[in-house]
């Protein structure tokens, strides 16, 4: 039962990835710029440009190019960068650690800020702190990351000299970009944690526990909290993907050498193999994250069954 579920989910995932590849392939190839011209340089003759086009296969019908890309993809070949000539795989692998580090850092902040605030809001349900926290959560969700990042840099790195002004390296470098990226997620986690805990507190066993005379806080901290946190934790899967897809801005503000920067620079010079590679990698993380969330969720809540 479980195995069949996993297999069917994996199949679905593969289909989704195929869809992403297809759409992004056609979109990137519609960009009105000729990569061959950018490679050929200023003195190139029309003939040279044509020659490069044919070497890269850009002169073939788009559908044929697409088919060839898929064939190579199935063999694990992402191609080589037009500009740098390096294998896209190598480039992605060199950038992945930075982006993963940033995403994980962001998740830590999301949980550290979001979960306690969510718990506090639920405990203070309907009172001042609940309302204040919910407004705060919306502020976090609504903050434009690029402005937030710049302002954090100005305050904490420039004025108060507490952190480096961007760049990659130590844990010190990680804090501001991860915080910037994590603040909006913290808002979502606070809301989720609040409603999850409220759900659990309304559940029979908690009410019974309280009715039996066990202290309210004891019931909450011993039983309710554990059950309420699990479904929230299961959302982390979803989150990884979302974060990976949204790092372009934060990476550019903090000069963070990750996947987002790689993609952004590649878009500037229509380096199609890199663009495809970054989209594919990010999409892969998103669907795997979704899969993880789907698999974790039922574990967190035994009432749900795989179906």
């Amino acid at each position: 039962m479980f195995l069949r579920y996993i297999v069917s989910r994996l199949l679905q995932t593969a289909l989704v990835i195929l869809g992403v590849v297809t759409i992004s392939f056609f979109i990137t190839n519609l960009v009105p710029a000729d990569p061959a011209r950018l490679i050929a340089g200023r003195l190139a003759t029309a003939e040279t440009v044509e020659n490069i086009r044919s070497q890269l296969g850009l002169d073939r019908p788009l559908v044929e190019q697409y088919w060839r890309y898929l064939q190579r993809l199935f063999q694990g070949d992402l191609g080589r960068s037009y500009q740098q000539r390096t294998e896209v795989k190598t480039l992605l692998l060199s950038r992945l650690p930075a982006t993963l580090q940033l995403s994980l850092g962001a998740i830590v902040f999301e949980l550290l800020i979001g979960i306690p605030l969510g718990i506090l809001a639920a405990l203070e349900f309907g009172k001042f702190w609940d309302k204040a926290i919910m407004v705060l959560a919306f502020i976090g969700v609504s903050a434009p990351q690029f402005a937030l990042g710049l302002i954090l840099l100005y305050l904490f790195a420039y004025l108060w000299n507490m952190f480096p002004l961007g760049g990659y390296g130590s844990i010190h470098h990680l804090i501001l970009p991860a915080l910037t990226l994590g603040i909006s997620g913290a808002g979502w986690y606070a809301r989720m944690m609040r409603s999850s805990l409220l759900d659990v507190m309304n559940a029979d066993y908690v009410r019974t526990g309280v009715a039996k005379g066990l202290g309210r806080s004891k019931v909450i901290f011993k039983h309710a909290l554990r059950n309420a946190v699990l479904p929230v934790i299961a959302m982390i899967g979803l989150d990884i993907g979302l974060l990976m897809g949204g790092v372009v801005v934060v990476e550019s503000v903090f000069a963070w050498p990750g996947i987002g920067q790689l993609a952004w620079q590649a878009i500037q010079i229509v380096d199609i193999p890199i663009i495809m590679g970054t989209v594919l990698l990010t999409a892969g993380f998103i669907v795997l994250g979704n899969l993880l969330a789907d698999l974790l969720y039922p574990l967190a809540d035994p009432r749900l069954r795989y179906g």
Binding site: Q12, L15, V16, I17, G19, V20, I23, S24, I27, T28, L30, V31, P32, F125, G126, K131, M134, V135, F138, I139, V141, S142, A143, P144, Q145, F146, A147, L148, L150, I151, L153, Y154, Y158, L198, G241, M244, G245, G246, V248, V249, S252, A263, W264, I267, I275, T278, V279, T282, A283, I286, V287, N290
Partner: protein
């Protein structure tokens, strides 16, 4: 978080909204931003496009807030306050167009999938899966690179990214509505599909559309600002809040006001639409009012 429809009675919605201070705050700010956008030419102290000679120091640095330029000047010597005021127009306009389009596409596809089910639903919902797996920002950047960036194009790009959420919510809701008694009854009475969808389904979807129409503007305002920040949004010299920060980025350490003020404008607008939308959701769905 789907809304199971009970046809809303307006007075009660309004009453519950009024009892929610956060939502009221949102409403007031939203109205204020709309007024600022509408009356921008009257409110702006200066021409937002004019690059004043005295708006830059002799060395070419922007001026900090002062008597002449209340919020200071940008890197071209233009009045920041006037640009922010006109920028409200761009944010709202893109917000309304983009979100309206997203709502339309999302509702249409979601309700078609939910009502007819079968292969159509499968195709549409698989497609939303693919869209969900797309790194939204990269998609938007690539699209703006292909199409010539104008206000309309930016709005359409955002709509293409944002309709998916709406479609999924509407789908789930239509699914439950389609099985509800009044639709079954209408069907039995021989009403056609079109009639059922328009007469019976859409009115029940309205509250959802209203909530998502409001919440979505917040996302849209943020995305527009982000695209402009990356230099692929609305074209200069059109004043866009995100664009102002993009142009000032290299100066943020010496001229932080050029980031702080537009950043606050974006934040305030986005928060307000969120608070209002959330208030509407609670007001329209009594179950959420715990």
């Amino acid at each position: 978080m789907t809304l199971i429809a009970s046809t809303p009675s307006r007075p009660s919605t309004w009453r519950s909204l009024r009892r929610n201070p956060a939502a009221m705050f949102g409403l007031i700010v939203v109205l204020l931003v709309i007024l600022i956008a509408l009356f921008a030419p009257l409110l702006a102290p200066k021409n937002p496009a004019e690059q004043f000679f005295e708006g830059l120091t002799l060395e070419g640095s922007p001026l900090s807030p002062n008597q002449d330029f209340w919020l200071g000047t940008d890197l071209l010597g233009r009045d920041l306050l006037s640009r922010l005021i006109y920028g409200a127009r761009i944010s709202l306009l893109v917000g309304l167009i983009a979100n309206g389009a997203a709502l339309l596409i999302g509702t249409l596809l979601g309700s078609l999938a939910g009502y007819f089910g079968g292969a159509l639903a499968k195709i549409i919902m698989r497609f939303t899966d693919i869209m969900m797996a797309f790194p939204a920002l990269l998609l938007a950047i690539a699209l703006s690179a292909i199409l010539r960036p104008s206000l309309w194009i930016v709005a359409m790009v955002i709509a293409l990214v944002n309709w998916v959420q709406v479609a999924r919510v509407v789908y789930a809701q239509t699914l439950s509505l389609a099985e509800s008694e009044f639709v079954t009854a209408a069907n039995a009475l021989g009403a056609g599909n079109g009639r059922i969808m328009f007469r019976h389904l859409f009115p029940h979807l309205l509250p959802t559309m209203l909530v998502y129409g409001t919440l979505g503007i917040s996302t849209t305002v943020l995305l527009e600002a982000t695209l402009s920040f990356l230099g692929v949004g609305v074209q200069p010299p059109t004043p866009s809040w995100g664009g102002i920060i993009n142009e000032s980025q290299s100066y943020f350490l010496t001229a932080p006001w050029l980031v702080f003020f537009p950043g606050s404008a974006i934040l305030l607008t986005a928060v307000s639409f969120n608070l209002l939308g959330d208030g509407l959701r609670e007001a329209l769905d009594p179950k959420l009012r715990r």
